[in-house]
């Protein structure tokens, strides 16, 4: 069974067909790339997949289960987590609390338990701390767990977004330009981390990226979007050598 299957996805804003008849099919455990020039509709696809927008037409299936038109919250519960192109951290909260907020569903206790500070509160909070620090350790952020998220450097904020998304225990992870604003060395490290995450957390990864070094380095397959429509899809090397794709990026 496919991890993600998208058929005939459409949305228009006014007269603009932002995404038109979009198909996508990703196997379990794959590292899949979604590329295209600026304004091609890549982030709109992410917003459709995560329920920020409701599609006009089309079907989205996660492991065979129809998740089309569900609310963002429910789609996350179904197993899809994401990061954002323009970083959306909980800026006034510490790095640790950002991750703990995402552990919300995995570690439960009642509100009243929290107010009265019953033993279950201490037990669950301790378990959450440990789990959150373990995740932060993977991304080398454990040392800054008490820093306010908004005060961290840009590259680390991007990493923290990935940690937060992973903390919800997803099957499918959507990364929206994870390398944006990173220098070549940071991008290299990020590639290692993304591979590590895929192998160790048993997630399938779909990412949007402009950095071709990262795309050709880690993506196994690609889909190219242009003006809301699919230009082509297939194995990374084939797609990147396709004259149509080069034309879309560089013009005639």
């Amino acid at each position: 069974m496919k991890m993600l299957e998208v058929k005939n996805l459409c949305i228009s804003f006014g007269g603009l067909h932002a995404v038109d008849r979009f198909d996508l099919s990703i196997d379990k455990g794959q590292l899949y790339g979604l590329i295209g020039p600026n304004g091609a509709g890549k982030t709109t696809v992410f917003n459709l997949l995560t329920g920020v927008y409701k599609p006009d037409e089309g079907i989205v299936k996660l492991e065979g289960k129809d998740i089309t038109g569900l609310k963002t919250t429910e789609i996350n519960k179904a197993g899809v987590a994401r990061t954002f192109q323009n970083i959306r951290l909980f800026k006034e909260m510490t790095v640790l609390d950002n991750v703990k907020a995402a552990l919300h569903r995995s570690y439960r206790y009642q509100t009243l338990t929290g107010i009265l500070r019953l033993p279950a509160y201490y037990k669950q909070e301790k378990a959450m701390d440990e789990k959150a620090l373990e995740l932060l350790e993977v991304f080398d952020l454990a040392g800054e767990s008490e820093v306010l998220a908004g005060n961290m450097p840009y590259g680390k904020q991007r990493k923290l977004e990935i940690v937060r998304a992973l903390a919800t225990n997803p099957k499918l992870l959507l990364l929206d330009e994870p390398a944006a604003g990173m220098n070549p060395q940071e991008t290299g490290e990020l590639m290692e981390t993304i591979r590590f995450v895929r192998d160790n957390f048993e997630v399938t990864i779909l990412l949007i990226e402009h950095d071709m070094k990262l795309v050709s380095g880690i993506c196994e397959e690609l889909t190219v979007l242009n003006f809301g429509e699919e230009l082509t899809h297939g194995k990374t090397t084939e797609v990147l050598n396709n004259p149509e794709v080069i034309k879309a990026y560089l013009g005639e």
Binding site: F84, K100, A101, T111, G114, R117, A165
Partner: protein, 346 residues
């Protein structure tokens, strides 16, 4: 961080208790004017209202302009209960039940208002609570309630119209409000309720639920993307806040033997919001200090009749600058880091 939060909370509790002890000593030594003594319970009421409003404004990131309306509901519900059961219940249990009733009724109203409004994005809560506060005030202003041998009678017409049968007694008399409410409130009870309010708010904020509430405030879309139910947690924060506002109302209703809607107007809602903003949004201790200082100040300055409001206005500006101006924040941080360095050396 945990330790820091714990220490911070302990300082807040200690400050409240210290304030209580100082006031008690001043009362026993007679070095406090009777006017100021009469202000002690309202002080506690304003502090409770400010702390509870901070839960909505500071931690949930919504704006409520009708906090006085919820206090009004708590005050009336509990005062009616106390008047009706005055003869049948002993003082202490009756007051405890009155507190619960005031809190519960205000909470239910908060919940009912929150259900439709908090589903929307934007400042709708401010608009609706503003209207709600006025509606409640005007509604209670014309409410008459009486009891006789046949039971309870309610009327929204002129109070005189209501005809009561044998053994009749008016409980709520239109614009004249409720008279003869048992005076169960005291400074001690006010402080206990304030401590309880702080305990609830502070522990809530530093728990799983509180994390969800602040996460939604910081970024709604991101909060949804990690599976947090936005409406549920906004509603929870708002309901708890209105419940505590109800408690503040109960305290006020049982302070003097007469209760009218006069206090619970738009100005009071704004005044409480001023306490929250000047004390620092999201800062529980600041709300309490601002409430106490700004409530007591006009009375303390009564000697300087003409300059009273001038000084009050100046203080508002100074507090605002101290809390929010970038230079002042920078200055405070420098002082703080100096202190912590000294401690390390020692």
């Amino acid at each position: 961080m945990k330790k820091k939060i714990f220490k911070n909370n302990m300082i807040t509790y200690a400050l409240i208790i210290a304030f209580y002890i100082v006031m008690q000593v001043m009362i026993t030594t007679g070095s406090i004017s009777s006017l100021l003594q009469g202000l002690l319970v309202p002080l506690c009421m304003y502090a409770i209202a400010a702390v509870s409003l901070n839960l909505v404004v500071g931690f949930s990131g919504e704006l409520s302009l009708g906090h006085a309306g919820f206090m009004c509901i708590g005050a009336y519900a509990s005062a009616i209960f106390s008047r009706v059961t005055e003869d049948s219940l002993p003082d202490l249990p009756r007051f405890l039940i009155a507190i619960l009733i005031g809190a519960l009724v205000a909470g239910v109203f908060g919940f009912l208002i929150g259900i439709p409004v908090l589903r929307l994005r934007g400042d709708y809560l401010a608009i609706v609570t503003l209207a709600f506060g006025e509606i409640i005030k005007n509604l209670f202003n014309v409410l008459s309630l009486g009891k006789d041998n046949e039971g309870l009678h309610v009327s929204f017409n002129d109070a005189a119209v209501m005809e009561l049968g044998e053994g009749g007694e008016k409980i709520v008399d239109g614009a004249l409000g409720i008279t003869g409410t048992p005076r169960d409130s005291s400074f001690t009870i006010g402080i206990i309720l304030l401590l309880l309010t702080v305990f609830i708010v502070v522990n809530l904020v530093n728990s799983r639920t509180g994390r969800a509430i602040t996460a939604i405030r910081d970024n709604r879309i991101a909060a949804e993307s990690i599976g947090l139910n936005v409406t549920k947690y906004k509603l929870m924060a708002f309901t708890i806040s209105t419940t505590l506002a109800g408690v503040a109302g109960v305290l006020y209703a049982h302070n003097l033997s007469s209760l009218t809607v006069k206090l619970f107007n738009y100005n009071t809602s704004i005044l409480i919001l001023v306490f929250v903003v000047l004390g620092g949004i999201g800062n529980v201790r600041g709300s309490i200090i601002a409430a106490i200082v700004l409530t007591a100040l006009p009375e303390l300055l009564r000697g300087m009749a003409n300059y009273r409001m001038l000084i009050y206005a100046l203080l508002l500006i100074v507090m605002m600058l101290f809390n929010w101006a970038p230079a002042a924040i920078h200055f405070r941080e420098r002082i703080k880091s100096k202190f912590s360095k000294k401690q390390e050396v020692v």
